[in-house]
Subunit: 490 residues, 2 copies
């Protein structure tokens, strides 16, 4: 794999001059096509032997391209406040928008591979990390982010020589850092781990390109060619990760809606008593010292008029308004459409000690977008695993994820729609669209059933609640939240 690169091939000044002009014209023209089309983003991931000239080459790429539409991002060790969030959040929020080019050095995601390769991980962990990266890349490409990965490589002797030459000249010595000096000692292990990771994560839709780096001119040309090829490549159709025939992975069907008891009710007196007790406990739990290192993400889904808004108010009543944020989820805006689907939800992940409430959520993709045929079958099937990976990352970062499905019968919904039309507070809540959606109750039930089957993970369980009686539903929601927090704090 590294044979060519380790032979340290060179390009003469003459050959370079001949290629350079044409290459630069092609590159800038392809970039402008990319900017104008705005049909995808290009993400360039940079890795390789330390001291192989990665930084220098990326600077040159910035000069050859129109640098105003190139964003070079390094991920230094996270600052204190960044650790308030899962590390992957920085990667997501920095993804280039369609029409732009992002160059990423040492993302948490590349760190992940380096770690996986260098440390003595057991084979299971390594395999799990590799599979996670493969899914992530496949999902990025399917979400309109073209991915190309560059590995800068040269022989050990050439690496030594380059470092020495840079150090010898005071005007270039600053380019050498401690990693470059260590690379000599660790050459073999870096080489071995690089090979392992490249083999495991090379894919037609997110290929690795090995850049021979001993000669600066050949290195520049090969890098530019790799970027050019990525810019010119037609958009790639990526099959869902699990099944090329667009079927979700096989899981035992779960349908909590079937056995739901809609007769559950609470009297006013019972409700008042429970509510007072639960709201006090919630107030204490979110003010508990232990909660300062945690966070809470609550998802509300369910049919129109199922009582999501009312339940949310009973929850927020017990929390200081400065501690929570409610995110009403509607159709994505332009800036959101220019990024992968989960980007806008990553933006609203709660920081430490905070509560984020989603009034509808990332499940829109497998509910309304599926039912209304706003996305392809392959897209919503892929979304189950994307969502599971997302929630798992939240959970691993001490964010408690609770998902509520408020369920009402069609008759009850009809009754509520009619009431809304006559209530001065609630008129604004009922629109023609709500009446239209009602006709698709069956399709939504099928989508909900599939959703429960594929996304009911132990780390982010669904709570399906009978909501024909509002008091019962509100008390149940509060109870589940309080129990989850109290369980976590004991």
């Amino acid at each position: 794999m590294f044979q060519e690169a380790e032979s340290d091939p060179k390009l003469s000044q003459e050959e370079f001059k001949k290629i350079e002009t044409k290459l630069r014209v092609q590159l800038v023209n392809e970039q402008y096509r990319h900017i104008h089309l705005q049909d995808r983003a290009l993400l360039i991931l940079v890795a390789g032997i330390d001291g192989a000239g990665k930084g220098e080459t990326i600077n040159l790429l910035n000069e050859w391209l129109d640098p105003r539409h190139v964003h070079t991002i390094a991920f230094p060790p996270p600052a204190d406040s960044d650790q308030s969030f899962p590390t992957a959040r920085r990667f997501w929020l920095n993804l280039p928008r369609k029409g732009e080019i992002g160059i990423v050095f040492g993302s948490s995601y590349l760190q992940l591979f380096n770690e996986a390769a260098k440390k003595k991980l057991n084979a299971d962990t390594l395999e799990r990390n590799i599979q996670f990266i493969r899914r992530l890349e496949s999902n990025l490409v399917a979400n309109g982010v073209q991915v190309v990965k560059l590995w800068f490589h040269m022989s050990r002797a050439a690496q030594h020589q380059r470092t020495e030459e840079l150090l010898a000249n005071p005007s270039t010595a600053w380019q050498v850092d401690k990693h470059d000096l260590k690379a000599q000692k660790k050459f073999k292990s870096i080489r071995r781990s690089g090979q392992l990771i490249i083999e495991a994560t090379d894919a037609p839709h997110s290929p690795w390109v090995i850049i021979p780096s001993a000669d600066p001119q050949l290195r520049a040309v090969r890098t530019a060619q790799a970027v050019l090829q990525a810019l010119k490549a037609p958009s790639i159709k990526v099959p869902p990760f699990h099944d090329p025939a667009s079927a979700p992975p096989v899981r035992k069907p779960v349908n909590p809606l079937e056995k739901l008891d809609y007769t559950a009710t609470l009297s006013k007196a019972e409700y008042d008593e429970h509510m007072l007790n639960l709201q006090n406990r919630l107030a204490l739990a979110v003010r508990n010292k232990k909660f300062k290192s945690k966070a809470l993400a609550i998802v509300f889904e369910g049919a129109d008029a199922a009582g999501k808004g009312g339940a949310i108010r009973r929850v927020t009543h017990a929390i200081d308004a400065r501690q929570f944020n409610i995110m009403p989820v509607a159709a994505p805006k332009d800036s959101e459409l220019a990024r992968p689907y989960l980007w806008r939800f990553w933006r609203h992940v709660p920081g430490r000690g905070r509560v984020a409430i989603f009034d509808r959520s990332w499940y829109g993709r497998v509910l309304v977008e599926r039912v209304e045929k706003l996305v392809t079958r392959a897209t919503w099937i892929r979304a189950y695993e994307e969502i599971n990976d997302f929630e798992q990352q939240l959970s691993q970062h001490n964010i408690i994820v609770l998902k509520f499905w408020l369920s009402i019968t069609p008759d009850e919904q009809l009754k509520r729609f009619k009431e809304r039309e006559h209530s001065p507070y609630k008129q604004f809540k009922i629109t023609a669209e709500d009446w239209r959606n009602r006709r698709k109750t069956k399709a939504y039930s099928v989508a909900a059933k599939d959703m429960f089957t594929h996304t009911n993970m132990p780390c982010a369980p669904w709570h399906v609640i009978s909501a024909n009686d509002k008091r019962h539903a509100r008390v149940e929601v509060l109870k589940q939240i309080v129990l989850a927090l109290e369980h976590d704090q004991t």
Copy 2:
């Protein structure tokens, strides 16, 4: 001013019930009008005596309004990484977008007044801070952010009683914090400072409303009424801060363009020598330890084809691509139009140790937007002081602000336009709009002259550079940057 509030007026349960229903219907209906119109944002600033029930009332407001379009923001002491930026940045980035409501507790901006009032500042500093706040509020309103300020007040005895009652009940004791307990001792000084600041910063377009807070029901009603009134108020035309007759403040005219020597040139040999020297010095300066606590914001303005892009490349050549960010400034996008003009530039203020390069900038308002009549005369006149305040805040936060105007003669511009049309690298750089803009050279000269007159501050000086000779211009730009950094580091 506090007479009514300190008489601790009450509302009977019966009266409250009568008012409540109507008020809530009005409130939610006005909020929906606000959401649908999207013609402005509403910013509610919350202040007052500690322990007067601010938090409780804001929670109630969240229940009475549709909380999904209300964002309650507290500004705790900044985290480490926030201190990487001027404190005002958090305030700006959290401004509600048009159609939304933002409730702000203890913003850096309110802290500013509290400090101004409490500490033994000299009269000049206090007056300067007050004037800054007055300009900021006036500018926010003129930028589509309606401002209403609430001061929660009650008698000292009532404050004491309320705190004791909350403490006595285990389910409400958490509502009392140390500030509430201290308020008894500091009652008089809080009262005095409140009075001073309210008088100094009350304005028709951003009024203070005193909320009598001893009785929770009256407090709720008065708060809701204040919000309702703000939502119902017609958009207010705010005159420029300095002059109701829409004239900029009187300053001695400065026109560096007049005496500019366009004959300055550099030979290829001189250029290469200077450039190598300056780029090396720049490389060292941005890698200097001292730069880690600073930042650099560089603005490039000038006519089309003046050589901004070429100059930027010579600057970035010496800087690691991971350390700088280039922001190309074009017409604002939807999400930017929904916020005050400077919002998008606050987003791109460089963090500590970083370089932000603006290819065109916030000066667009007093250049293209003025010349093309995209904004009113009052708006661009107001912008001079908005911009000066903005740059002053950057400078106070250790951000070195350098502004370059690259100047070319009309003949040279014509020559370059023609060259661009025939260059394979540069075809994309020339559009019909460039030819149109050329016809407005005079209007741009007048706008530039006014801009130099009103925004050439010692903390953020303009460097006007003759750019008919590209080599000369690039060397001059590098030289000014290097000198500013080296001067700062010695």
